[in-house]
C-alpha cells in the first residue's frame, strides 16, 4: 500500500514536470516566433507563392542572383539535422554547421549581436513548424563571385563578430531598442551606404543609401535631413513602425514590406524602445540647404510647370499648402523624405504610386495613384521639383532625365 502511494506520488510529480517542461517549451517557441518576426526571416526565406520558410526566393545582387535556403525542419533539405549550436553558429558567425561561409546577403553582420537565448528560441520555433521537403536552388553568381573564399575578404573588411554589449550609461529601454535595431531588425542592411564591395564600414552605419538592385533610397537614420527622427515625437515613430502611417509620413516600397512582415507584430514596449533608440541616434544640427546642379532658369521653369501639375493632380489630397490629411494622405511640406538629397523616392512615388502595408492598426490603407502613364518626364520632374522646393522645403530641383531613368526601375 505504501509503495502504491509512493508510485502515485512519483507519477504525479513526473507528470507535473512533463507538463511544466511542455509549458516552458511552448513559451520558448512562442518567444522564438516573435523574435523570428522581429528578424523578418520570412521576407527572404519564403518565396512569393511558396510555403513558409522553404526559401527559394531570388535575391538579385550586383554579383548575381542568390536563392534563399529552406529553413523548415526537414532533415534532407532543411535544418532538421541541425543542433542549437549549429543554428547559433550561422546567426553569430555566418558559417554553416560544416564551417562553410555564408554569403553576407544573410544579415549575420547584424544577427551576430543576437543573444544565445534568443537564437535558441528562434531555433526552437523553426523546429516546431511543419517540415517541407524542398531542395535549395543553387546560386547563380557571375565569375568570380561564385568562389566562396572571396567572402573571407569581405568578412575581414566588414564583419565584426560579437553579441550586443549594453551601454551602461543608457537606460534599459534604450539598450533594448538598440539591440533590436542593430541586431534582429538588421535595419543597417538597407539604411547604410553599400560600397562597391557590397559592404558597409562601421563608421557609415545608418547613414542611408540606395538599395542595390531595387532603386529605392533607404534614407539615413542619423541625419535629420533624411529620415533622422530627432524632431519626431515618440508617438509618430511608433505609429509609423506599427501601422505604416503616421502624422509625419507613410512607409512605401521596401519599408512597407518590413512593417507588413515584421514591425507590426512587435509589442508596444519593444516598438517604443526602438523609437527611443532611433530618436537618440539622430545627429543634432540644422538642416542645410543642398546646392542644385541645375541652372536657375531651368529650375524656375520647372517650378512654374510643377505648380500647374500639382494644383491639377495632387492638391486635392495633399492640400494646396502640402499639408496633406495625415496620417492617410501624408503631408509633403516639412516632410524629410521629400526634401532629402536623393530624389529617388519622391520620383518613384509619383511614377508608381503605392499603398502603405495593410496592418492590424491600419487594415484598409489609402493608396497613392501611379502617374507614370499620365505625366511626361518633364511634368514628373516639374512636380517633384515643386514639392521639394516649396512651402519651406529645402530640397533641390530634379531633371527630366532623372525622372525618365526611374521609369524602368524594378517594381517588385
Amino acid at each position: 500500500m505504501r509503495s502504491a502511494w509512493l508510485t502515485l506520488l512519483l507519477f504525479l510529480a513526473s507528470t507535473g514536470t512533463v507538463a511544466q517542461a511542455q509549458d516552458n517549451r511552448t513559451v520558448v517557441v512562442t518567444r522564438g516566433e516573435y523574435l523570428a518576426r522581429a528578424g523578418d526571416c520570412i521576407a527572404c526565406h519564403t518565396a512569393p507563392d511558396g510555403q513558409i520558410f522553404t526559401g527559394g526566393r531570388a535575391m538579385p545582387t550586383p554579383f548575381g542572383t542568390l536563392y534563399t535556403s529552406n529553413i523548415t525542419p526537414d532533415p534532407e533539405t532543411g535544418i532538421g539535422r541541425w543542433s542549437p549550436d549549429d543554428f547559433y553558429k550561422t546567426m553569430h558567425s555566418g558559417r554553416f554547421p560544416d564551417g562553410g561561409l555564408i554569403y553576407p546577403a544573410m544579415p549575420f553582420g547584424s544577427y551576430t549581436k543576437v543573444t544565445r537565448a534568443d537564437s535558441d528560441a528562434i531555433f526552437a520555433y523553426l523546429r516546431s513548424i511543419p517540415p517541407v521537403n524542398q531542395k535549395n536552388r543553387p546560386h547563380d553568381l557571375r565569375f568570380p563571385y561564385g568562389n566562396r573564399s572571396l567572402i573571407l575578404g569581405w568578412r575581414t573588411l566588414f564583419f565584426s563578430e560579437g553579441e550586443y554589449k549594453s551601454d551602461p550609461s543608457k537606460s534599459a529601454e534604450w539598450n533594448r531598442g538598440s539591440y533590436l535595431v542593430e541586431g534582429l531588425g538588421h535595419c543597417g542592411m538597407c539604411h547604410s551606404p553599400i560600397n562597391a564591395l557590397g559592404g558597409t564600414p562601421q563608421s557609415e552605419a545608418f547613414k542611408g543609401g540606395l538599395i542595390p538592385m531595387q532603386n529605392w533610397y533607404a534614407p539615413s537614420l542619423t541625419s535629420n535631413r533624411e529620415a533622422g527622427l530627432g524632431d519626431w515625437s515618440i508617438k509618430d515613430i511608433t505609429d509609423l513602425l506599427q501601422t505604416g502611417v503616421s502624422a509625419r509620413g507613410v512607409v512605401y516600397g521596401p519599408m512597407a514590406e518590413v512593417v507588413h512582415n515584421s514591425l507590426q507584430y512587435l509589442n508596444d514596449e519593444d516598438t517604443k524602445a526602438m523609437a527611443v533608440y532611433l530618436k537618440s541616434i539622430a545627429e543634432s544640427g540644422t538642416r542645410v540647404p543642398s546646392s542644385s546642379a541645375l541652372p536657375t532658369t531651368e529650375s524656375s521653369l520647372l517650378t512654374s510647370l510643377g505648380k500647374t501639375v500639382y494644383d491639377a493632380r495632387c492638391a486635392s489630397c495633399h492640400g494646396a499648402q502640402g499639408e496633406g490629411k495625415p496620417p492617410h494622405w501624408p503631408p509633403l511640406a516639412n516632410n524629410q523624405s521629400i526634401e532629402m538629397e536623393s530624389a529617388v523616392n519622391p520620383i518613384r512615388m509619383v511614377l508608381n504610386g503605392g499603398y502603405p502595408p495593410g496592418t492590424e492598426g491600419n487594415p484598409r490603407p489609402y493608396g497613392m495613384p501611379p502617374f507614370a502613364g499620365l505625366l511626361s518626364d518633364n511634368e514628373v520632374a516639374a512636380v517633384v521639383t515643386y514639392i521639394r522646393t516649396t512651402w519651406g522645403n529645402r530640397g533641390t530641383p530634379v531633371s527630366a532625365r532623372e525622372a525618365n531613368e526611374l521609369r524602368s526601375a524594378p517594381l517588385n
Binding site: H260, N352, Y355, P363, G367, A372, G373
Partner: protein, 235 residues
Amino acid sequence: MSLRIAIAGLGIGLSVQVFPVGAQTPGQPPDTMAARVEACTPCHGNQGEGTSDVYFPRLAGKPAGYLYNQLLAFENGRRKYPPMNYLLEYLGDPYLQEMADYFASQHPPLPAPVPSDVSQDVLRHGEALVTRGDASRQIPACASCHGPTLTGMEPAIPGLLGLRPNYVSAQLGAWRYGTRTAKAPDCMQIVAGHLTEADVTAVAAFLATRPAPENAAPVPKGTYILPFFCGSQPN
C-alpha cells in the same frame, strides 16, 4: 413595440440623412472605398469603367469573385504585371475582397461599340467562335461559359463586354503562352491553347463590336451549366 421599432427606424433614417455614407471627418480623407481605391483610377477609371489606354481593362460590374481572384493572383505573383504586383503586395486579403466588391458594385454605362478595322470575314469568324465555338478543334463557344449575353456569371466568370481588342488579344495570348494562369483545371489555358493567332484576332475584334445588352450585370450563379469544370469557378 411597433412604435419603438418605428422610432428606432426613424433614428436610423435620420442618422443616415445627417451622416451620409462616407461622412467626412474634418482633416481626414473621406471614409469611403472610392477614396481608398483612388490608386486604381488613373488606369481603370474613376468607377472602374476603363480609360483611353487600350491595355487597361474595365473592372466595373465584373463579378466580385472574379475580381477577387485576380487581386489575389496579382498579390501573390501568380498573375504577373509588375505595376499591379507592386501595388497589392502588402495588402490583406479581406481588404482585397472589399476592393473587388466595390468595383463589382459599380455600374457606369458600357462604352459604345467601336467600328472594327478588320474585314467582315474576320468578324464572321469571330462571331462563329464566340457564339458556336468549333467542336472539330475542341473550342467551346465563349458564350457557353461567359453567358449568352457575354455578361458573365456569378461568382467568378467575367463579362467580356466593354473590353478593347488589344486587351482581349493580350490576355488570350498570355493564356496561350502560359504567362497567365488560373487554379487547375485551368479552363482558359486549355481553351486558349486551341486558338490560333487568327482566332484570337477575330474573337477580340468581334467582342468589341457587341452592343451593351439592357442588363449588363453578370447572371446569378447556376443560371446555366458550364460545359466543363473550372478551378476558378467553384460549383
